[in-house]
């Protein structure tokens, strides 16, 4: 009887303790943790390098959130299947994950067995989404107002990056970034960069503090 090759997985979560804990949970002969990342951009590098079967990614990573990272991963490495791992139990986030191309969504308050089942199911080609999530108050209607590129820029602005840094991270010119910034502010009806912060939260691009969650 032939042995199945281990499922190659990469993990991304900026909470190192949580990420390392999940690595420990995954430790088994049938799973090979091929790489880890602390933010959405280094995740893309790790995926490019390792071409994993599965990417387990947190929804709210710095530099590039889980939803946008999912889109990019599917372009960089189409054979890689994405599972979002999140503490956010809201239907809206799950819908956005599905729309972005994720094959699974696992809650951090799920039992470890659920995570392992999801990894195996998605590796087999199935999907793994929870059925009992609560609806949320996030403003999905306006989500499509911003392009994917604009959403990436918005996250970096709100994370406190200056135009020059954003330009470097996204390998674009400062001029291009300034244009994006101006367009974003115009589209969102906001007159200062600080006003972008609550808008980014409403659009689900960054998450507010855990205490402010609907859950």
């Amino acid at each position: 009887m032939t042995e199945m090759a281990p499922i190659r997985v990469v993990l991304a979560d900026d909470h190192t303790l949580v990420r390392r804990g999940i690595v420990a949970i995954l430790a088994s002969p049938s799973i090979d943790v091929a790489g880890e990342a602390e933010d959405g951009r280094s995740l893309l590098c790790v995926v490019r390098r390792t071409r994993p079967d599965i990417a387990l990614i947190d929804l709210s990573m710095p530099l590039l959130n889980g939803i946008e990272a999912t889109r990019r991963i599917l372009r960089i490495s189409p054979e890689t299947r994405v599972i979002i791992v999140s503490m956010h139990a809201d239907r809206d986030a799950m819908r956005r994950a599905k729309r972005a191309g994720a094959r699974g969504y696992v809650l951090k308050d799920a039992a470890p067995e659920r995570l392992l089942e999801a990894v195996r199911a998605v590796a087999r080609g199935e999907e793994s989404f929870p059925v009992d999530l609560a609806p949320t108050e996030t403003d999905t209607g306006t989500e499509q107002v911003l392009t994917s590129r604009e959403r990436e820029v918005l996250q970096l602005i709100v994370e406190g990056k200056r135009n020059k840094e954003i330009a470097e991270i996204m390998t674009r010119s400062v001029h291009t970034i300034r244009n994006h910034r101006a367009r974003i502010m115009r589209k969102l009806g906001v007159r200062s960069a600080t006003g972008l912060v609550p808008a980014a939260e409403r659009l689900g691009i960054v998450r507010p503090a855990s205490g402010m969650e609907v859950r």
């Binding site: 909470h15 303790l17 791992v85 696992v106 951090k108 308050d109 406190g160 939260e201």
Partner: protein, 195 residues
């Protein structure tokens, strides 16, 4: 020396189980129990008499901060180490006031967790993570509510230029380089209402 007995309190099962397995890699500590909220934590502390309690700060039913006093009462010999997401240093002063040894970010490494556990059990207070003055914290809470510098100045009875100076000082202390970044930080630090 017997391994230190650790109680893990976090509302996310994956996090609880992950921490348990991480602790298993250190020979001088051992997980003696887990709890999913403050109420379970008090029960578990009574039952297991831990040396150190790892306490998540944002949990349902009885949140981390509110659980500190009852835990100190139930298990006075246990050192309490509050675990938080990044930038919840707003909780730090409140946690220490209530009797916790300190606050450790979940972004810390397993080695940092191990060190913090050893320090806490030896009665060594942990270094304070983000030293902001009370006035700066007040300005920060206004920033979190989208107040302009003029509004904050009026509310605190100071000049807008002084508000600007407070912001610059905070940005330097926190290594944040834009006002948008400072507002983000302020909003992430906002404490939820205690149940």
């Amino acid at each position: 020396m017997k391994p230190l007995r650790i109680l893990i309190v976090d509302d996310h099962a994956l996090v609880r189980e992950g921490l348990r397995r991480l602790l298993a890699t250190f020979p001088d500590v051992t997980a003696v129990g887990t709890a999913a909220d403050g109420r379970e934590a008090i029960e578990a502390a009574r039952r297991t008499r831990p040396d150190v309690i790892l306490l998540d700060v944002a949990m349902p039913h009885l949140d981390g901060l509110s659980a500190i006093a009852p835990l100190r009462e139930t298990a006075p010999e246990a050192a309490i180490l509050v675990l938080s997401m990044h930038d919840e240093s707003a909780y730090e002063e409140a946690a220490r006031d209530r009797g916790a040894c300190g606050l450790l970010s979940k972004a810390a490494s397993p080695e940092a967790l191990h060190r913090a556990i050893l320090d806490a059990s030896a009665g060594r207070t942990l270094p304070v993570t983000a030293p902001l003055t009370p006035r700066e914290r007040k300005v920060l809470s206004y920033l979190a509510s989208e107040a302009s510098d003029e509004t904050i100045a009026r509310a605190l009875g100071i000049r807008p230029r002084t508000v600007e100076k407070h912001c610059q000082r905070m940005m330097k202390a926190l290594e944040i380089r834009t006002r948008a970044g400072l507002v983000s930080y302020a909003r992430r630090c906002r404490r939820p209402p205690l149940s």
